[in-house]
Symmetry: C2
Subunit: 409 residues, 2 copies
């Protein structure tokens, strides 16, 4: 193994001390003093690694190792160090610290690549403070509007712009964080899986084939509220009974899918009395797949079923799309380099898709993108119990190291 | 027609003025000044009807017409005049004012019955203030514990006992409101249907065959919360997906029943994120029927299905019974008198069950009980839109008048 597993593991633990709460989790929200301390610590790691450090206009931290060929496209790698409230110690830091470890290993081994390499720590991936994530990668991709900095607020009413100023950043200059896509050769991110696919396959590390698209819908069914005792079954227009059939249909359909998932995470009934037939029910559908056509196909089938069910039952229907994000396939070229790296490091290669969004998804809009997943214990994340083993992290970092060397050569 | 339809209709409207709100509904909570005003108005009606008026220790208002035979058992009739918050003008008052009208008609026509007759206005049937209804009838039946007067509180923290004192009643004396069952011959109540059975049968008035029993259950299913994107369908333990099947099963089963109804009026999921597979879901079941064995049978089938579904899906299960009330069949003797009255008044006789609880249900525990339902427009109640036509109310009062004369003779 080329990389230094102990050093990487120690850095994970040092970073975990910043924003630590009593239950062992961390809370590092964007543009706070806690985040500043975490960034300062990461700067010391970057400097130890021999990288040239700068911070861009949105607060992304960048550590650069120059390449041999002047003006060559840069190979970028990174993740984030902000967290959700009471989050874990690996979601984000695993990618950032593996990236630093990979570049430090190159420097220590005197590996000079043709292309320069950059470790990037993206600002506010989680969106835990302003309910609007991926601030750093969206800025780098030139996809964050300045208006959003002035409109999105945290729970105390502080806008992103105000928070940036408090952190010493000028929101007016934020657009300057945009990177020229022509100057970027590739973006590679290591991340914890946040699921159980690797665990169930008994694999330490996996190659991500793509990040799923996400469509969110809100279905509202309006029936007729009534007294639970005085309305015979045959005279009811019960929207919850209709919703139950629809939810079952959605689950059954998704169970027959290869990679698509369908989730109902929210449901509310009105008026909500134990002895009152509901008059209205609203619930959500979260549809994800790596294939956009299939997502549309699932939604159309679901919609047809909802319409038939509601028509049969005399129920009014409204379906609203709340959010839509296309799938981001990973670069074939990068996956191939990763497979070679797996072969060279004698690690079994497992392929899987990412069901969660990452900065890599945003970067895929401006450059070739690849992702490496490491095993998550019990699939838990966004929780103090989030855990990945030292060995798995080291194997991931080793594959990252080898892949980056190949990509930069 | 014997009774005076105009007078009855005018009294409905006069009573509707007390506690009236801007949307045409009424709010008359127990032991309030509004309720006092409504009682005072009803007292004037009782006195107009030639009744001897008293108020008992729980606040029940009683108007009595003496019978010809000394110490004969009393025939009671009545309902309530308290309302839910923003309730309608017929739920309760229809029964009270029809009862007064029936006795006034007897007095005007010089009808002397063997048994005395009493109109009773029961205190706090709805339970809208203290979440514990039927205070008056429970007291009359000797089934209200004094402890409850000191424990149940309204939303301002005022106990029933405190509210009684404010209304000039002594909670310590409340047990004295108990009636001796041996002194009561029958209890008959006219009430709005609060459903659509009469409307669908195009009938003005119906004979109630019994009041359904009510069993309330709370089902809690614990699965495994997870990320909607990173947990493949096959690795999920989604309690909402299980709940959807269970709710559908319950509805389907009830649709094949003759008179039983099964309702899910409440459902809550945790944690409730649009992109999170629920970890826990809790929902209610309201099971009603006129036949207790059938209610138990429905519950057992439901329970078996819940258990199988949860076992198949690796979901933990808890079922809690929140409330149980046995069905109250109406007296055959009283129903027969009502049928005769229908024939005499040339009104078509429709039989139906009461899916809602009434003071009559409590009175059934101490005496023979009968109920007359009048048609509710669109089945609406507990709402300002609650409505019954003058003609339907008059026909109901006429049947009540005839039935009471028969019962008291």
């Amino acid at each position: 193994m080329n990389i230094n597993s102990e050093r990487l593991w120690n850095r994970i633990h040092k970073l975990s001390e910043i924003g630590k709460d009593e239950n062992g989790g961390v809370t590092r929200l964007s543009f706070t003093e806690t985040e500043r301390k975490a960034k300062d610590l990461v700067v010391t790691f970057m400097k130890d690694a021999g990288l040239a450090v700068r911070e861009d206009e949105i607060g992304n931290l960048i550590g650069r190792k120059e390449g041999a060929i002047f003006n060559s496209q840069v190979v970028m790698t990174g993740s984030h160090i902000d967290s959700v409230i009471s989050g874990g110690n690996f979601d984000g830091p695993a990618g950032v610290l593996s990236a630093i470890e990979a570049l430090q290993t190159m420097n220590e081994k005197g590996i000079v690549t043709e292309s320069p390499l950059e470790v990037i720590v993206f600002t506010d991936e989680e969106g835990a403070r302003f309910s609007t994530g991926m601030l750093g990668s969206l800025s780098a991709a030139g996809k964050l509007s300045k208006e959003e900095l002035y409109s999105a607020k945290d729970k105390n009413g502080v806008t992103i712009a105000e928070a940036m100023k408090q952190a010493g950043l000028d929101p007016e200059l934020a657009p300057n964080a945009k990177r020229n896509p022509e100057e970027i050769k590739a973006y590679v991110e290591l991340h914890i899986e946040q699921g159980k696919v690797l665990e169930n396959a008994d694999a330490s590390v996996g190659i991500v084939t793509g990040i799923v698209g996400v469509d969110w819908y809100r279905v509202t069914l309006k029936g007729e509220a009534g007294h639970a005792g005085t309305t015979p079954m045959g005279l009811r227009k019960d929207p919850l009974a209709a919703a139950a059939r629809i939810i079952s249909y959605g689950e059954e359909m998704a169970r027959n899918e290869k990679s698509a998932v369908v989730t109902v995470g929210q449901i509310e009934v009105k008026p909500g009395g134990i002895n009152i037939i509901p008059g209205e029910v609203a619930f959500s559908f979260d549809i994800r797949d790596i294939n956009k056509e299939n997502m549309n196909d699932i939604f159309e089938k679901l919609k047809a079923y909802i319409e038939t069910t509601c028509e049969e039952r005399g129920i009014e229907l409204e379906i609203e799309q709340l959010h839509s994000l296309d799938p981001s396939p990973c670069s074939e070229r990068i996956m191939k380099k990763m497979e070679e790296s797996f072969t060279e490091t004698e690690v079994q290669s497992i392929k899987l898709i990412s069901g969660a969004g990452h900065d890599a998804m945003v970067m895929a809009s401006i450059t070739d993108m690849g992702m490496i997943f490491i095993r998550s214990k019990d699939g838990i994340s966004h929780n103090p119990k989030e855990w990945s083993d030292q060995k798995d992290l080291a194997m991931g970092a080793e594959v990252l190291f080898t892949t980056l060397v190949k990509l930069a050569s």
